[in-house]
């Protein structure tokens, strides 16, 4: 296969062996961790800033506006200006706030993001950790971000924040089910929880095409539940601006607020990249049956580009959700989960299991 020229396995292997030759195994691990850490911090910052910019541009185009366009070409340095400003903004200590938890909350949100980012396959061999229970790990870790939100709301000594945090808690606890079940549908289909294996299994066709209707339903449910889990509109009850001013981060200012702000976007990126990995073939190029020429051309696009393209497509859809739909009410949010998504999801899992059992898939 020609697209194996973009295989990163040998490259990472080479780094590993050359480091091992140079120093002891312990220091090798430390150095590798340091390299990965720095790379992820850079990746995090770039993606976060880009997504903030992208959202502002997307919403501008949806709303017949131009959006930021004065800093750099098409205003691409806008978010950098925002970051500089937020870095040098005053951090206000809140009276009667639980100082420790108040300061801790933004970091929890950020740390959780990093833990998930490490487990996502960006290209063949470009993978920080390749767990054999990758999906399980991602579900487990990503649901921890609610702790940050809850702490922020609780420790702020602000009534709006508290209501926002409680809402967020109820929301994430229930939508975690849908995310889990829709991913389980695909795990049944793929027969593995290891992300690299799942991606490899999509070499002959993406799961959303291979998996008949159940895969498509699972995809739709995953997108809805994923949007809810990231606290984005129309599920942004935790920070519902027209009701709770800014929800759980009402009292945060400066860089701590920026952490929440960035984390929201990275969460969206994570949700989208899991959707891309599991449903849309990850870094696998798009192939149509036996069209050799077409497939060959598709193969020359680097896998990282494929991965990012799919991810940004999903992100675009999620952004459109936010800019189109009105916000749900808290009870409607829970009704949607427990009355609609969950039953459909359970039936969907059964159907998928049946399909796999009968061997009806391609």
């Amino acid at each position: 296969m020609p697209f194996d020229i973009y295989d990163f396995t040998s490259f990472t292997k080479w780094i590993d062996t050359s480091l091992e030759n140079a120093m002891s195994p312990f220091w090798t691990t430390v150095t590798e961790m340091a390299i990965a850490g720095v790379l992820f911090i850079l990746f995090y910052a770039v993606v976060g800033l880009f997504l903030v910019y992208a959202e502002r541009k997307v919403c501008a185009f949806v709303q017949n506006r131009l959006g930021p366009n004065r800093l750099g070409p098409y205003g691409i340095f806008q978010t950098i200006a925002d970051l500089i400003k937020l870095l040098f903004k005053e951090l206000i200590p809140i009276k009667n706030a639980d100082r420790f938890l108040f300061n801790l909350a933004p970091y929890i949100v950020i740390i959780v993001n990093f833990m998930v980012l490490g487990a996502i396959p960006y290209a063949k061999g470009l993978h920080a950790i390749d767990f054999n229970i990758g999906i399980f790990y991602i579900i487990a870790v990503s649901s921890m971000s609610v702790i940050g939100v809850l702490l922020a709301g609780w420790s702020s000594n602000n009534k709006y924040s508290l209501i926002g945090a409680m809402r967020s808690g109820a929301q994430i606890v229930s939508y975690e089910l849908s995310v889990g079940l829709s991913l389980i549908t695909m795990v049944i289909f793929a027969g593995s929880m290891q992300l690299s294996v799942i991606v490899e299994a999509q070499r002959t066709g993406w799961f959303i095409f291979k998996g008949h209707i159940p895969a498509f339903i699972a995809f739709v449910i995953y997108i809805i539940a994923g949007t809810a889990e990231t606290n984005r509109g129309p599920f942004d009850l935790a920070e519902a601006e027209s009701e709770l001013t800014a929800g759980y981060h009402t009292e945060y200012s400066g860089i701590k607020f920026a952490f929440f702000y960035l984390a929201e976007f990275i969460n969206m990126f994570i949700v989208a990249s899991i959707a891309a990995t599991i449903f849309l073939g990850g870094w696998m190029p798009f192939h149509i049956g036996t069209w050799e020429g077409f497939n060959r051309i598709m193969d020359f696009v680097p896998p990282f580009i494929w991965y990012l393209g799919k991810t940004f497509f999903v992100i675009w859809v999620i952004m459109l959700f936010k800019w189109t739909f009105p916000r749900l009410r808290i009870d409607q949010l829970l009704t949607l989960e427990w009355k609609y998504l969950l039953p459909i999801n359970l039936v969907n899992v059964l159907i998928m299991a049946f399909i796999v059992l009968m061997g009806w898939h391609f």
Partner: protein, 160 residues
């Protein structure tokens, strides 16, 4: 059974209504022609304002730097919130008579509500509105203007 059908119907129509909304927003996203934004600071060279637009009060002067004001004070009286102050002075004309002329026509831009009563009531059409709107200042005192200063705007369009 009926309840299940209703349940599915609900979902179907719900999803359809959402897709309709998405169609509108997504179609605008792919149509840059629909963008209506005026680029203000860049376009100010060729920005044409409506001729009746009320930007600030001016006292048009003709090319000899004369204005029409006879300092009757009607504008000051008709102003509902005292943003105009007419300070007259008396001078001796050549034929020995005393004449009341305008010394200072003070206009407080920071207070004006652009109701147009002064322009409407002026018996000699000495006042008009200009379309200039760029007045933002750092110093509040600059918003108090003297309208009859020499070299102010040439007389044009006052006859209307």
């Amino acid at each position: 059974m009926r309840s299940i059908i209703n349940y599915l119907k609900d979902i179907f129509w719900g999803v359809m209504s959402l897709l309709k909304g998405l169609k509108v927003t997504a179609s605008y996203f792919w149509r840059p022609g629909a963008i209506v934004t005026e680029k203000y600071p860049e376009n100010r060279k060729y920005l044409v304002m409506f001729e009746r637009c009320k930007g600030e009060l001016i006292m048009p002067h003709n090319d000899k730097n004369e204005h029409n004001c006879i300092s009757c004070g009607i504008c000051q009286m008709s102003c509902p919130n005292g943003s105009i102050e007419v300070i007259p002075k008396t001078i001796d004309t050549e034929d020995g008579k005393k004449k009341r002329i305008l010394d200072k026509h003070i206009y407080r831009l920071g207070q004006c509500t652009f109701c147009g009563l002064c322009v409407k009531n002026c018996p000699t059409h000495a006042l008009a509105f200009s379309t200039k709107f760029e007045h933002a200042v750092f110093n509040k005192a600059l918003l108090i203007k003297v309208l009859n200063k020499p070299g102010s705007q040439l007389k044009k369009g006052v006859e209307q």
